[in-house]
Structure formats: structure tokens, C-alpha cells
């Protein structure tokens, strides 16, 4: 019984939370995710959910409370952004290490300094090594759908890892879009009952978070690394099942007009929507440009990326964050690493195609369709042998 509704991105997250009706939400409001917490607090006050809402005094406490509630055996969710995610930093690692299936919505926002409240991906990219699963959303429909799927992915018995659902601050969080909503019964039947693993409330004594020195720590990290191998299959299976149930399927990546494409653009988040329009226009005028949208950034779908991008002659990556002093930026380094030297013997036996990196949109700077087209033209020229700057910027003065 899906219903078409006009809704803001943040409200769509709050609505998903309401329909999931988790045991505990511990959250602290921060721009541009404030309305998630504000709207959900209304649902709690109006008795529309049974959730225990914990109004904490900081994001560090929010994530700590989430870890505690999850360890007690509850289904737990939260939301944050930017500096808030930064303040959670040490607890993010603990959530993943303890295999707590917490789901968190993150409205992507620039990190200080200087102070900026607008979109880029610096916040979640800073947390890319913490052990969370990262799903990026292109639009409001995808946030809503991702939030619901994230619960299933996180709690899958082969996974049991925390998931962050990323969506571009203001660009999506504050934009009103028409989405197809779902009923509480539909969402409840999709997410199912929460089954806690190694819970403190199952009456068997346990020691959680013990001292872990030279003798065991390495083995624990090794076993944690193994958990991520099951994630791609689960993301695909849950995405398929969601499609069967509600008509919208999801995968780790989405190819757009890649059949016969000569070059490919690669991006995360809402920019994919704009790129799709540009690709349509360029295809109409005979320019063979395709798009590879990355939905799952962690674990990184290296094999799918390699299979998709091996078909083209050059690649243009969009990075909405920077690795200062690194060689190339977060998405670029993942793509390059996936594409080159794949046999493990160190030689360059990958597809060896030119891959460009362009940093754009920092601190909410708009990117225009003309700028995207100009970049695509540059990638087309590189495919024909032209030399350009490998790592550069779009839209900076």
C-alpha cells in the first residue's frame, strides 16, 4: 500500500525511523540533520512509536548510548552530521569492533574549519576506516529505502555490523521531493523482528569490550575483516528482496547508460542525479558517456567497479572531499586501487586506462550541468590520447 507523498529528506529519514519503530534512538541534533531528531521526537511525544528516545548531551554520548542499548539486545538507530560524526569518532570504531548492528543516518556536511554547514563528503570519508558499512543515497526516495534496507543488512547474521546511510546535506536533507512511502505493516514485515546476538540481557554472563593486548587483538581484527566479505552478497540480496516487495531494486553500484559508453563518470550521492541528465544530453548528441554510481562505498565493490570500468577507455571520478597530502582523493584512490595490478604479482595487469580525479562541491559549492559536461568532454579527449592534469578541481576560483 504505497502512498505518494511530498516530503523533505530529513523527514523521510524520520518517517523511516517511525515505520521501523526501533527499541532505542539516542541522538543529538545537528545541522543539517536536525529535523530527523526533531521530527522523531514529535513521533515519540505523540505516542506514534514505542521507541525509548534518549536525548543525550553530545554525539559521543549518542553513539555510546547506542552501543550500550544494542549490547543490551535492542534494535538501535541514530542520526548525525559533520562535527557530530567527528565527535562520535572513537565510538564509531567500538560499535563496529563489537559487531553492533546500529543504523545511522548521516546528512553529509563539510567539516570545520572554517565553519560551514553545507554539503560535502568530508565527514563520512573521515570515518571510512572505522568499520561501518557506508550506503550513499542519490535522492529522498533512496534515503527512505536505504534506511529500511540498512536494518536488514546490519542485522543479517552473517554481517552484524553498523551501517551509515549517507545523504547530501541540504541538497537532499532540505529538499522536498515526491516519494513512494510504505505502510507500517509493510516495513515491519520487511525488517522483521530484531534478533540480538551475544546480548547482555539473555541472562548468560558476558564480558564486553575486555582488555585485548598483544595476545588476541590482532586475531580479533582479522576476524572483523572477515565479516565484510559477507556484506556485498547481503546488500545485493536485500536490495533484490526490497525490489520484489516494493518495486524498487537496489545493488552496490548502478550503471547508467554504460552500454557502449566510451568513457565513464563515477560519483557518490546526489550529484549522480545531475550527472544522469548531463549523460542523457551528451548521449543524444552522439557523445558516448556513461555513469557508474557507487551506492555502497564500504565495503568497496572493487570487482563490480573493475568489471564495469574495464569496458571504457577513460574514467572521470568526482570527489566531494579531500585527502590532504594524499595522492588523489578518497573515491579516486579506491577506483585506481580496484583497477590496477589486480593479479597480485605487482605488475600492471589491470585495464590500465587513464583515470582522472576532480574535487568539486566542497562546503556546498554548486556544480553546474555545464561543468559536468566540460569534465566529461575532457575525459573523452583523454580517451583519444590528450594529456590533461590527472588530479584537479572543478568550480574553484
Amino acid at each position: 500500500m504505497s502512498e505518494r507523498i511530498l516530503i523533505e529528506g530529513n523527514e523521510a529519514v524520520a518517517l523511516a525511523l517511525k515505520l521501523i519503530d526501533p527499541d532505542v534512538v539516542a541522538a543529538y541534533p545537528i545541522t543539517p540533520a536536525t529535523e530527523v531528531v526533531q521530527k522523531f521526537a514529535e513521533y515519540v511525544a505523540d505516542g506514534e512509536v514505542v521507541t525509548e528516545f534518549v536525548a543525550v548531551e553530545s554525539e559521543h554520548s549518542a553513539m555510546s548510548a547506542c552501543i550500550g542499548a544494542s549490547t543490551a539486545g535492542g534494535r538501535v538507530m541514530t542520526a548525525t552530521s559533520s562535527q557530530g560524526l567527528g565527535l562520535m569518532w572513537e565510538m564509531l570504531y567500538i560499535a563496529a569492533s563489537l559487531r553492533r548492528p546500529i543504523t545511522m543516518a548521516v546528512a553529509n556536511r563539510a567539516l570545520s574549519g572554517n565553519i560551514n554547514i553545507h554539503c560535502d563528503h568530508s565527514d563520512t570519508m573521515g570515518a571510512r576506516d572505522a568499520g561501518w558499512i557506508h550506503l550513499f543515497s542519490e535522492n529522498t526516495q533512496e534515503i527512505f529505502d536505504n534506511m529500511i534496507q540498512a536494518v536488514r543488512i546490519a542485522e543479517h547474521p552473517d554481517v552484524r555490523l553498523p551501517v551509515m546511510v549517507c545523504y547530501d546535506g541540504f541538497v537532499i536533507s532540505h529538499a522536498r521531493e515526491v516519494i513512494e512511502s510504505l505502510s507500517k505493516e509493510e516495513v515491519q514485515s520487511f525488517v522483521g523482528k530484531h534478533k540480538a546476538s551475544l546480548s547482555l540481557l539473555d541472562l548468560e554472563p558476558k564480558t564486553v569490550g575486555p582488555l585485548d593486548l598483544q595476545d588476541y587483538y590482532f586475531e580479533h581484527k582479522r576476524s572483523q575483516a572477515e565479516a565484510y566479505k559477507a556484506v556485498p552478497g547481503v546488500i545485493e540480496a536485500v536490495g533484490q528482496e526490497f525490489g520484489k516487495a516494493f518495486g524498487r531494486s537496489y545493488a552496490q553500484v548502478e550503471e547508467y547508460n554504460m552500454d557502449g559508453a566510451e568513457v565513464a563518470l563515477v560519483a557518490l550521492g546526489s550529484t549522480n542525479g545531475t550527472i544522469k541528465d548531463v549523460v542523457d544530453g551528451m548521449n543524444e548528441s552522439g557523445k558516448k558517456v556513461g555513469l557508474l554510481k557507487i551506492r555502497a562505498f564500504r565495503p568497496f565493490p572493487a570487482e563490480l567497479v573493475r568489471a564495469s570500468l574495464s569496458k571504457v577507455k577513460a574514467v572521470g571520478v568526482f570527489d566531494r572531499s579531500m585527502t590532504f597530502g594524499g595522492w588523489g582523493n578518497p573515491l579516486f584512490t579506491e577506483i585506481r586501487s580496484a583497477m590496477y595490478g589486480t593479479s597480485g604479482n605487482g605488475c600492471c595487469c589491470g585495464p590500465c586506462i587513464p583515470i582522472l580525479d576532480r574535487v568539486y562541491g566542497l562546503g556546498g559549492r554548486e556544480i553546474s550541468m555545464a561543468e559536468i559536461e566540460q569534465y566529461a568532454d575532457e575525459v573523452l579527449a583523454v580517451a583519444k590520447g590528450e594529456q590533461v592534469e590527472l588530479i584537479d578541481y572543478i568550480g574553484v576560483r
Partner: protein, 97 residues
Amino acid sequence: MSKIRPDASWKELPEGGIIPEGGTSATFKTGDWRSERPVWNGESCIHCLTCWINCPDSSILVVDQKMTGIDYDHCKGCGICASVCPPKVNAITMVTE
């Protein structure tokens, strides 16, 4: 769940490094951290148990409300017991290991 052996591989460890039993700190011998050892004189001890209340590692051994000795497997040698022992009694002295 069987005891986790020191040679267990990563495949044998419980998920999330969570130990599926309680009270496991008893098996973790912290006594070798000690640089000074508390030595107890049972003859001058008045069994006031001030050391037992203050010991942060539960290393003062007590049977039937009487102190019987010190658990050197877990005592880290902090010296609190010697310091809180009433001066007139002075039943615990710290000795370099």
C-alpha cells in the same frame, strides 16, 4: 563455550571479541606488573579490614572476616594497603620485588 586457548586462531574467537562468560578478570594474572610487593605481618594485624575495603584489585584475602594474606597473582603493588594500615598497627610493608 569452551575456554579460549592462547593459541586459538581468529576463526575460533567469539564475534566482536565478546567473552561469552563473566568474571574472566580472575584468569588474567596482573601480579607480574608489580615493582613493589606488600608483605603482611599476621601477628600485628588487628583485622580491621581497612586494606580490604581500599584494595582496588580485590587482592586482600579474607576468610571468616579475618585477613589471611595477599593474592600475589593479582596484586599490582600499588601500596594503598600499606598506606591505609593504621600507623600504630603497621602490619603491611612494601618491599621492592
